[in-house]
Amino acid sequence: MSHKLSWRDHARAGLIALHMGALLVMCLPVPGRMGKPQQNDPGFQSQLRQWRSVGRAVGIQLSQEEALALVIDVTDVMRVVRHKAVNVVKPYIRRVGAGQAWQMFGVVQKTPARLRVEVREGGEWRDLYVHADATADWNARFMRSERMRALLNQYSWRARPSSYERLGSWMACQAKAELPDATELRTTMEVLALPGPARLRETGTIPVKSTRWERSYDLDTCDEDAP
């Protein structure tokens, strides 16, 4: 360092340190709330079982219920601590857009769900759009766009069901305008069971495990003035 440090250098470094400190606080882990739906989620139950077996390997014996209680206690404490710390820096962080939540692929879904949209024409159902399927790619430019994909990811995690229904209504009106013979539109989330490498090599397919969130829309009820 060739020059003597001035008060400006110190003041600037102080502000930088405050900024860095605020970012560090925002980086504290954000555990989700462990309500009944989350506790009963098969994916979570499976994760918990596997972590219990890791615990057993190092001499920690916990039943499924004890492990669940431990997870709930730990996440509750973490949420309270984080909430208190974050409240101090939140006004600054929110105004400048410096949020720090980077839980990217923390838990990878083994049973993701994809959107299937069907229309009934002449009494027969046919696929209109199936996500990641080139044979049914209605409105693909929008449906496969990045922001729409983000929304589909929410539905895959069972989040935003009301948004899902509004999107269905919007698609019904679009279908009515574009497909004069269509009378009904149906949306479903198809739950896939992702196989491991050996099983996938053997079968060569990704099976559908179940369906959920099936909604039907009578196209005649779509408001003519609606888009």
């Binding site: 470094a13 949020g99 720090q100 839980q103 929008f142 983000a150 929304l151």
Partner: protein, 324 residues
């Protein structure tokens, strides 16, 4: 020198701001591109407009700029879209750089408030990057501002190095935090290192048609290796910053001399380059096989902070001699 004085001195040491300028150009271009993609795909009309204006959404944003512009309606949304794109061009070209970054960041935040659930980590990283561009002297060189101020596009006047330090700090936070949040068993040996395998198969993220997805199974050794490597790489990414910040990069160059052989380079590897090489490879794979928006591009923009001016200008056209 005590710890605080060392921190102050580290932030105040002068250096030319080429890394910040390259970061700025990338971020501005990416923001322009991501908003343009929303316009072209119909995302603005369908996701950001409300049902009253032809969109699907009944949600009404209460964000302060949205309210100031008259509420969540078509006029407000399109004013935000065009202002954001115009200011992104200002950021990319370095025109009124700090003001452009502030406008771009705030309008981007307003746009992200219009339809909850339609964004991702890349949006958060973009708003972080734009706020950094308000704070740091990123318009000093390779900018219209430099042209107005000095009559030349380039201005290598040294400025305090804290701007580059903040870039490095931010990218270290992103990777370290992402690594520590990876608690799913498929990231670990007891889960078979299958996280990348499952992520590539998830149709929500995959760019591949579902009929092509089973091919992923044949690359199982690679996806397992990728899982183990990416977790370790993320958690330890701060090592690259430590390597840079403690002057090891310079000491390595001194040790190598002016014309090092390949053997000498291998014997004394630049740890930063190893981390960057893994990062670029990982992000290119993500770009090719997964639909993650501009996440990879905006993340890699931060890598410029890991290199100093004299290391970067060797690669810029017409500036090779400046590196000496």
């Amino acid at each position: 020198m005590n710890l605080w004085q060392r921190f102050v001195a580290h932030m105040a040491r002068p250096e030319p701001t080429t890394p910040l300028a390259l970061f700025r150009i990338c971020v501005g271009t990416i923001v322009f591109g991501t908003i343009l993609a929303s316009v072209l795909s119909g995302g603005v009309d369908i996701l950001w407009l409300t049902d009253a204006d032809g969109g699907y959404n009944t949600f009404r944003s209460k964000q302060w700029i949205v309210r100031w512009l008259g509420g969540h309606n078509a006029f407000t949304v399109w004013v935000l879209v065009w202002t954001c794109m115009l200011s992104a061009l200002g950021v990319a070209t370095g025109t009124l750089t700090r003001a452009s970054a502030l406008v771009c960041g705030q309008t981007f935040l307003a746009l992200m408030s219009l339809a909850p659930g339609t964004g991702g980590s890349h949006d958060r990283l973009i708003t972080n990057a734009l706020w950094l561009l308000v704070l740091i002297p990123a318009g000093t060189t390779l900018s219209v501002d430099a042209r107005w101020r000095t009559g030349r596009w380039r201005d290598d006047t040294p400025r305090p190095a804290w701007g580059r330090t903040l870039l490095v700090f931010q990218i270290c936070l992103v990777y370290t935090s992402a690594g520590l949040h990876k608690l799913g068993v498929s990231w670990f040996p007891w889960g078979g290192y299958l996280a990348v395998h499952y992520a590539l198969l998830d149709p929500t993220w995959s760019r591949l048609d579902i009929t092509m997805l089973p091919a992923v199974a044949w690359f199982s050794p690679l996806t397992r290796f990728g899982t183990a490597l990416s977790w370790f790489w993320e958690v330890t990414f701060a090592v690259s910053a430590w390597w840079l910040g403690t002057g090891r990069a310079e000491r390595r160059l001194e040790r190598l001399g002016s014309q090092p052989t390949i053997w000498q380079r291998l014997r004394h590897p630049d740890i930063r380059n190893l981390y960057v090489l893994v990062g670029v490879t990982m992000h290119v794979v993500l770009l090719v096989f997964m639909e993650l928006g501009p996440f990879s591009l905006v993340t890699m923009s931060f890598y410029f902070g890991l290199y100093r001016h004299h290391e970067l200008v060797r690669w810029l056209p017409g500036t090779r001699n400046d590196a000496a």
